[in-house]
Amino acid sequence: MKFNIQSQVQKFSTNRVLVTIALATLVAVGGACKKSQTSAMNAASDVIRVGEVGSMTGQEATFGISTHQGIELAFKQINAAGGVKGKKLELISLDDQGKPEEAATATTKLITQNGITALLGEVASSRSLAMAPIAQNSKVPMITPSSTNPKVTEQGDYIFRVCFIDPFQGTVMAKFARENLKFSKIAILRDVKNDYSVGLANYFSETFKKMGGEIVVDQSYSAGDIDFKSQLTSIRAKKPEGIFVPGYYTEVGLIARQAHDLGVTAPLLGGDGWDSPKLTEIGGTAINGSYFSNHYTPEDKSPQVQSFIAKYKEAYGSIADGEAAMGYDAALILADAMNRAKSLEGADLRDAIAATKNYQAVTGKITIDQNRNAVKSAVVIKVDGGQLKYQTTINP
């Protein structure tokens, strides 16, 4: 009996070794095939491959999807107008499920396997921070449409952005609260799991205090929480005139609801992370009367914005949100730089992007400064009756 079992075990393990070897061979051969295929295609290609990494699924899926649609629309228009340097742009998009580690894997895959010329993405700063070092090391220029944390472009000279940065966004809301709303007592509720939220909260607090205001309480939560009543109860006790909540729409909607339940009437203030159709859906009527800073507003009457909105609506059937506009702009700036660049080699393309000056895009006139950040104005938007209403523009 014992002998029998042993022989079975042996047989089993021999089988397993065989299978493993067979698999390994397959993988090796397959990999080799793929590699030679890619390089062959690159040599004789009449397309320029651009990679995109975004959160098409996951907690912040609307960010990824909107950005992707914006980029896709821009590429279609560019290709319809003859492409770049006589070549068509090809977009290869990968989903990172809203996880930094997946974003890093996707970046590596795009660069090593797909041989991309340039990289577009991510919306969230924490994921762009995971991607940037990889792009930098491989000398592939990367443009993030809407990561506003300053650290992102500090990763290296191949990393650019077409949006403003947190210090500016935090400053904008502090200025708005102090000068337009005449508030002097503000509470902060920040998401400590999120680089973006912490950054905004810090810069807001700094500016607001400098302007003579007072931060009465600084509370925090972690992304994914659903219960904020205890933080809000503590905040309520300090009677602030406004609450600065620089988080993402998923939590902000619930925070607004619970604040309303607790009888907090102070308006909420926030940043571009609020920009999603889900904000008013989850927040319901409780979110009315709140303000957030954003990159653009669909209410802008300039012909360029209106034509973008019309084409976007025709293609996807919805009003373009801020992320879609930023994705569109990132793609346009990239194409513009490719046209101006001496060649499509990493270093030449990098220099061309860095030289972008007063490019009239949908979200405003974009100039890339020496830190590879965009200098442009921000708009403040008020949530009113479930609608997003343009409030004011604040310049750098």
């Binding site: 699924t57 996951g58 907690q59 912040e60 899926a61 609307t62 499920q97 809203g98 400590v192 509370q219 925090s220 939560y221 972690s222 994914g224 929480d225 659903i226 219960d227 009543k229 205890s230 933080q231 109860t233 503590s234 309520r236 006790a237 998923t250 909607g253 619930l254 609801r257 339940d261 607790l262 009888g263 889900k278 859906e281 989850i282 319901g284």
Partner: protein
């Protein structure tokens, strides 16, 4: 003072939700000595079944208590069926295998449900229709009590009372207690153990389904991974009360809810999730039987 009372109210309403989930853990453990890690995900499915039911009946437009009850009924039945299937296809075939196999299977079932959920529902957060929003709110000075909180608390207590009745006053309950005492003895006495175990799973899952709907209503953002953290916390609550003990689970859950709210309100909001696990470690170190647990001698 007002602030403190408000924290207590918030804690109670959070604790009553943990209690509904914790009951499922504790019942299954009591009867099978199995920690059913998939339980938190059944709660997630409960919320989604509730959402689809509410959408199908267009409950979002009009709010009434009856639509809440109908939605809950659907969700509880749905979850009971899911609980039955999990037991039938994942755990029953392993009834005679070592306990560690079943435990690993439980983790597998949990991951299976989470990721099938992502595939099926999509992983972006969904809005749970507001099927019942009682008008107005009750306030005593600064103290705010949302009527919804009271109703959720009331429904939880009612469900727990019904469960208590089933366990201690019905034939099924007696059979459950007998099986929990000893499988072999119970089956010698003519109790269909497999059936009783299946009923236990269904009961526990139905409670999780009800919790899913009530959480969806009070915190209207649901997503396929929403069950992970509450599931773990309910497990801690069950251990805190003495796992296998029904009253213990309820008390443990309410203590945990209150402790969390007070910690977040007065001290360190970021340690919210850490608190539950710190409690788990302390309980296991100093009083492994929990608050209400009885030390059982290991049968040889």
């Amino acid at each position: 003072m007002v602030e403190f009372l408000q924290h207590l109210i918030n804690g109670l309403s959070l604790g009553s939700i943990y209690a509904l989930i914790a009951l499922g853990y504790t019942m299954v453990f009591g009867i099978l000595q199995l920690i059913n890690f998939a339980h938190g995900d059944v709660y997630m499915l409960g919320a989604f079944i509730g959402m689809y039911t509410a959408r199908a009946f267009h409950y979002g437009q009009s709010s009434s208590l009856s639509s809440l009850l109908v939605t809950m009924a659907f969700s509880m039945i749905g979850c009971a069926l899911i609980g039955f299937m999990i037991e039938r296809f994942a755990y029953r075939p392993l009834r005679r295998s070592p306990r560690i196999n079943v435990l690993i299977t439980a983790v597998g079932v949990s991951l299976f449900l989470e990721f099938s959920g992502q595939l099926l529902f999509g992983s972006d957060p969904k809005f749970f229709p507001q099927i019942y929003t009682p008008a107005g709110d009750w306030s005593i000075g600064q103290l705010r009590i949302n009527p919804l909180q009271v109703i959720v608390f009331g429904i939880s207590i009612t469900l727990m009372t019904i469960l208590q009745y089933i366990i201690f006053r019905t034939r099924l309950g007696r059979a459950m207690r007998a099986v929990s005492f000893s499988h072999d003895l119970a089956s010698l006495m003519g109790i269909p153990t497999d059936q009783v175990i299946a009923y236990t799973f269904m009961l526990g899952s139905a409670l999780a389904g009800a919790a899913g709907v009530m959480v969806g209503l009070t915190y209207p953002k649901i997503e396929p991974l929403m069950g992970v953290m509450p599931g773990l916390k309910a497990f801690v609550a069950a251990v805190l009360g003495g796992i296998g003990n029904v009253t213990g689970a309820v008390v443990g859950a309410i203590v945990l809810g209150l402790a969390e709210e007070l910690l977040v309100g007065y001290w360190a909001p970021t340690y919210r999730d850490a608190l539950a696990f710190a409690i788990l470690i302390l309980i296991l170190l100093f009083k492994p039987t929990g608050l209400f647990g009885v030390r059982r001698t290991e049968k040889v």
